[in-house]
Symmetry: C2
Subunit: 301 residues, 2 copies
């Protein structure tokens, strides 16, 4: 299968390079890194073994790229409006688009833009960063879960999982709604609260008041998911997420890094959309509403 | 009547000096300012007309003070544990203690310490600051409302109102519970949110998201008061408080000043106690619970 990568940062750069290094045909859309990668290739410094790609298929314009069977989207959702322009040249009738992005409602909105395109949610569990042009630093973890949103081609869906596996990436198929909401159970409390209180995961859990607040926020997400009929989210899952985070190294989630580096924050898909979806179904998340307002304020301040 | 003043800062210093300047017998407990005021007297720079008290009855130890008919307490509630030691030497059988303090539950707790003492809530509407030793700067407003908590001596209660009035201070009798909760409608949203988002009243109201959040927080206070059977608090009161704040000059509430100057914040009586009182009666204030947790975190950070 032919892969296209849009959004070649810490996520798209890592998974695209792994696939390319395993022998898949991969085409990367680059902007500022184009000239450097064309000349010097891509470097992945990885806890699983570093490697270098000498020759990479790179493009400055999406119009120059070939049609792809699979497109991995590693953009921040704050740039999803660009997909209207970036995706069409890559799509043929059977292209599967994998949105490796954060939040709730992403697939629904992209599906509205491309009603006939087969969409898959990519849930990355990875610590990685793009440290300089053409260079990704992969610190730990690295698995990817795929949640089928609207892909009818089961064989091709399975082939993507196999291609990841063959590239040394742990990949599994997960139920779409459950996977998106489970990730939100961690994402919604920790992304926003580290920004709101200018801190890291460990200090939020060390203080008994914010530890309880984190749990309350998780329970709002779980309550919303249950109300929406999503299965698999129980109170025990909140406890498990807190215990998991207790043993993690102190961590700044992606929204905290975005805030610190004055980049746009993914408030829309991490907060506004899930809050809106739950409210439309008659379920309120008051503390997450408050967090959303605080983030909107900090975004402007 | 003989007045004693405990907590001679922006509040106790102002009201005590006004009473003294009008000819009342007033005794001030001072700490660091003792020597200065003993030698130079007290200065009040006031929008209503500045004045100087040449000779002031000042004390370093409460044991040296005479019994008083009325004690005005201008301490921050974070120091209320000191009342166990400070009040007894001033009390006779009929002393009325006026707690000019912020929050909900103050009188109930002081009454537990002094079951037989007559308590009155003092609600000050004033912008003032202690700018240097023996000097209070009174910028604007200045009225005081008295809410009778457990004073049986109606004549003396009325006399206090008269003494304030004669001293040029607007004073009125208000229903205790209603007055405390009405003040909380403004205090709970603005004190905490200016700390949480490191901002001032005007910017919170300018941003549409935090403007809505401020209103949500006000409605939680009003909902709690209504649930507790306190009359006089309606949705229209929230709108009135917001409109009033819209036309105020940008303002840092007392908790914001405490936070900025690394003084203890009055989280207990402004948040924990009302949240606890409402919860015990079966009413939750989720957004204010979240604000409390954020303040507890910032207090330690």
């Amino acid at each position: 299968m032919r892969y296209g990568i849009i959004g070649v940062g810490a996520i798209g750069g890592f998974y695209g390079s792994k696939l390319a290094y395993s022998g898949q045909e991969v085409h990367f859309l680059l902007h500022s890194d184009y000239q450097f990668v064309k000349e010097h290739g891509m470097q992945v410094d990885s806890c699983d073994g570093s490697f270098h790609l000498d020759h990479v298929n790179v493009y400055q314009n999406v119009e120059d790229m070939p049609k792809c069977d699979v497109v991995l989207v590693g953009l921040k959702t704050t740039n999803n409006h660009l997909l209207a322009k970036l995706l069409p040249p890559l799509l043929h009738e059977h292209t599967i688009v994998v949105l490796i992005q954060n939040g709730i409602g992403v697939e629904a909105d992209v599906q509205q833009m491309f009603p006939k395109t087969q969409l898959v949610a990519g849930l990355a569990f990875i610590c990685s960063a793009k440290t300089e042009p053409g260079r990704v630093n992969h610190q730990c973890y690295g698995s990817i879960n795929l949640g089928n949103y609207s892909c009818k081609d089961e064989a091709r869906f399975q082939q993507i999982l196999n291609d990841f596996t063959n590239a040394g990436v742990q990949a599994a198929s997960v139920p779409y709604e459950e996977a998106r909401w489970k990730k939100a159970v961690w994402n919604m409390p920790f992304n926003g609260m580290t920004v709101a209180l200018d801190t890291q995961t460990d200090l939020l859990l060390k203080n008994p008041d914010t530890r309880q607040l984190i749990r309350d926020l998780m329970m709002e997400v779980i309550g919303a998911a249950q109300h929406l009929g999503v299965t698999g989210l129980t109170e025990a899952f909140a406890d498990k997420m807190i215990e998991t985070t207790d043993v993690m190294t102190p961590y700044s989630p992606s929204m905290k890094l975005d805030y610190d580096f004055h980049r746009p924050m993914e408030i829309h898909y991490l907060y506004s959309r899930p809050i809106e979806i739950a409210r439309a179904a008659g379920y309120r998340m008051p503390k997450l509403e408050m967090l959303e307002a605080e983030l909107r304020f900090k975004e402007q301040a």
